[in-house]
C-alpha cells in the first residue's frame, strides 16, 4: 500500500495548463476517483502519477519517497486502460505473465501467479486465446489480471469501463469494487461517469479546468456541492439551478416564483443561484415550503416518474416523483420542498453559500 501525495503538481503543454498546482493526498488503500468532463485534467493527473507524463512543476510522493522523476516501472504501479491495451500478438496467458517476465520472476512462480489471477477473474478457460478472440468484458478482465498479477501497491485505472455496454459495466464495477476490498491497495480511478464515481469511490475529486473543484466523500459531494459545476455534474436528472435573488422576507425570488429558504440563509437583495435536486420534493406537509407549478411533460420510467414543470413565470424545473403520482400535462400541482435540502450558490462566483 502507498499514500500518494501530489504537492502542487502542474502540467503544461506549451502555453496550455492541463493541471494547475494540484494538491491532493490519496491515502493508504483508498479508492480515489478523479471525476470530471473531457479536458478537465483527470487523465493527465493519472498519467503523471503513473510516470507516463513528466511533471512540469511540483512534487509527487509515494509514502515519503519523492518519485517525481522516477520512470513508471520503478513506481510499483499498475495501470488499466480504457482501450484495454492488451498485446495483440500474445495469448491471454502471455499478456498476464508479461510484467512478471520483465521482472525475471521464476517460471514456476509465473505459472502459479497467472493461474491464481485467472481463477480470481474467472478467465481460466481463456488463457490460450488471443485478445482478438475475446469480448470486451473478457478483455477488460485480462487487463485487470495483468495489473493485479504483480501485486502493485497502486492501481491506476483510466476509464476502464467506458468501452463496455451498460450491463457489463455494472458487473465489472462490482468486480473492481471486490478487487479493491480484497487487495486493499490504493486505487486511483479516472472517469467521467458520475454513477461509477459514486458507487466505487471512498472519496471523489471533482475536476474542471485542471483544478480540483471539490474533494469529499460521494455522499458529501452530493449533499453539499461546493459550487454549481459540482452540483450540476453529479445527479441524474441534473439539479435544477435557478438564478434569482433573496426577497426582503428571506425567501428566494425570481419574478413570480417564490420559495421559502431556511431563516438567515442569505442577505436580502443578494443575487443567488438556487439549487433544487429533482428528488428533493414530496407531498405537502407542515414545515415544507410550497412549490406550485404547471406540468409541462410527464415521463414515466416505471420505478419513478420525471415531471418537467414550469413554476412562476418562466422557471423550468425537473422533478422526480413516485410512480404513483398521476400528474397530467397542463395540470397545476403543489409539492412540498424541505428548505434545509435546498442549495444556495453565489450568483457571481458560483460558490456555495
Amino acid at each position: 500500500m502507498a499514500t500518494i501525495t501530489c504537492e502542487r503538481i502542474t502540467k503544461r503543454y506549451g502555453g496550455v495548463v492541463a493541471v494547475d498546482a494540484l494538491d491532493l493526498t490519496i491515502r493508504h488503500g483508498e479508492f480515489m476517483v478523479l471525476l470530471g468532463p473531457s479536458g478537465c485534467g483527470k487523465t493527465t493527473t493519472l498519467n503523471m502519477i503513473a510516470g507516463l507524463e513528466e511533471i512540469s512543476e511540483g512534487r509527487l510522493l509515494f509514502d515519503d519517497k519523492d518519485v517525481t522523476w522516477q520512470p513508471p516501472h520503478k513506481r510499483e504501479v499498475a495501470m488499466v486502460f480504457q482501450s484495454y491495451a492488451l498485446y495483440p500478438n500474445k495469448t491471454v496467458r502471455e499478456n498476464i505473465a508479461f510484467p512478471l517476465q520483465l521482472r525475471r520472476t521464476p517460471r514456476e512462480e509465473i505459472t502459479r501467479a497467472v493461474t491464481e489471477v485467472a481463477e480470481q477473474l474467472e478467465i481460466g478457460h481463456l488463457l490460450d486465446r488471443r485478445p482478438s478472440q475475446l469480448s470486451g468484458g473478457q478483455r477488460q478482465r485480462v487487463a485487470l489480471g495483468r495489473a493485479i498479477v504483480r501485486k502493485p501497491s497502486v492501481f491506476l485505472m483510466d476509464e476502464p469501463l467506458s468501452n463496455l455496454d451498460a450491463t457489463l459495466r455494472l458487473s465489472m464495477r462490482s468486480l473492481i469494487k471486490h478487487l479493491h476490498h480484497r487487495l486493499r491497495a490504493t486505487f486511483v480511478y479516472v472517469t467521467h461517469d458520475q454513477a461509477e464515481a459514486m458507487t466505487l469511490a471512498d472519496r471523489i475529486a471533482v475536476m474542471k479546468g485542471g483544478l480540483v473543484q471539490q474533494l469529499d466523500t460521494p455522499e458529501g459531494i452530493y449533499a453539499r456541492p461546493a459550487n454549481t459545476f459540482v452540483a450540476a455534474f453529479l445527479g441524474s436528472p441534473q439539479i435544477n439551478l435557478v438564478q434569482g435573488e433573496i426577497a426582503p422576507d428571506g425567501s428566494f425570488a425570481r419574478g413570480a416564483f417564490r420559495l421559502a429558504l431556511p431563516p438567515g440563509a442569505a442577505q436580502p437583495g443578494r443575487a443567488v443561484t438556487l439549487g433544487l435536486r429533482p428528488e428533493d420534493v414530496g407531498t405537502l406537509a407542515p414545515g415544507l415550503a410550497r412549490l406550485e407549478a404547471r406540468v409541462d411533460l410527464v415521463s414515466p420510467l416505471g420505478s419513478e416518474t420525471h415531471l418537467e414543470v414550469v413554476a412562476g413565470d418562466d422557471v423550468k424545473l425537473t422533478l422526480r416523483v413516485p410512480k404513483e403520482w398521476r400528474a397530467q400535462e397542463g395540470q397545476v400541482i403543489a409539492v412540498g420542498v424541505d428548505p434545509a435540502r435546498l442549495h444556495l450558490f453565489d450568483a457571481t462566483t458560483d460558490a456555495r453559500l
Partner: protein
Amino acid sequence: MSGALERRPGPRRRPALGYDERNAAILVFPVVAVLLVVAAYPILYSFWVSLHDIVLTRPLRRPFVGFDNYLRIFDDERFWLAVSRTTVYTVVTVAVTTLLAVLVALLLNEAFPGQRILSALLLVPWATPSVVNGLMWKWIYDPTYGLLNALLVQLGLLERYRAWLGDPDLTLLLIANAAVWKQMPLAALLLIVTMKAIPDDLYRAAKVDGANVFQRFIHVTLPALRPGLMLVLVYETMISIRHFDLFLIMTQGGPGDASFTLSWLIYVETFRSLRFGTGAAMSYVLAMATFLLSWALIRWLGKRI
C-alpha cells in the same frame, strides 16, 4: 379445361449475375480488356516463343522445340553463375533496405524538430528515375572525379583514387548500395504507415509493465510491424531479383562476370545474341522463381501475423 396439362411455373432460375454483379462486370470489363491485350497476350506470346527455337539471325526458321530451351538453360553454366550473383545481390539489397527502413521509420515516427522536412526529403531518392540514380552513383564511384574517392582521400581513409566498380569483390555490393538508396524510402514509408497504426496505449502499458526501449520494440513494435514487413520483404524481393537498369548503366555485367545477374543474362541472350527462344525461357524461369519466392515469403510471414 379438365385434363389439360397446365404448365406450372418451375422454380425461377436465379440469374448467373445479380444486379450489382452485372453492373460491376460492366464497369470492370474495359480494364480487363486492356489487361488482356497489354499483359495476358505478351505473357502467352512469350511462352509460345519460349517453346520455339527462335534466333533472329535466321528469322524465318523457328522450329517448335517443346521444353528444350528450358532444359538447355539448366545445363548452361552462365545460368547458375547468374543465379548465384542474383542471390547475393537480392539478399544484400533486401536485407539492408529492410533494416535501414525499420531504423528510418523508427526515427521518423518520433516527434522532433525538422521531422516533417526530413520525411519529405526521404522521398527524393524514391522519386528519382532509375536511370538518373544509376548515373548518379556511377559518377560517385568514378575512378577519376568521383565523390567517393575525393571524400575518402580527403578524410585520409584512402591513399589514392581507385576504380570502385572495377573491383569484382565490391561491384555487386556497390550496385546494391545504389539500389538501397532508391528503394529504402518507399519501404520506410510503408513501415511508418504501419507504425502510426500502433495504439499509443500499448507503449504506455509496456512502460508501466516495466519494458525498456528495446523490449518495447521487440514486444510491441515488431509484432505490429509484421504486415508492413511482409509487404516490404515481398515487394523488395520482387524488385531486386529482377533488377536490370542499374546493371545496364553501371557495369553491363562486369567487370568480367562480377555483376552477371539473371536479368543481365536474359538481356544478353535475347538482345545481344538474339536467341529469343532461350531468352523467353529464361524470363519464364525468373518470373516463376519470383512468384514462388514471394508465395513462400507470404506463407512464412503470414503464419506469424
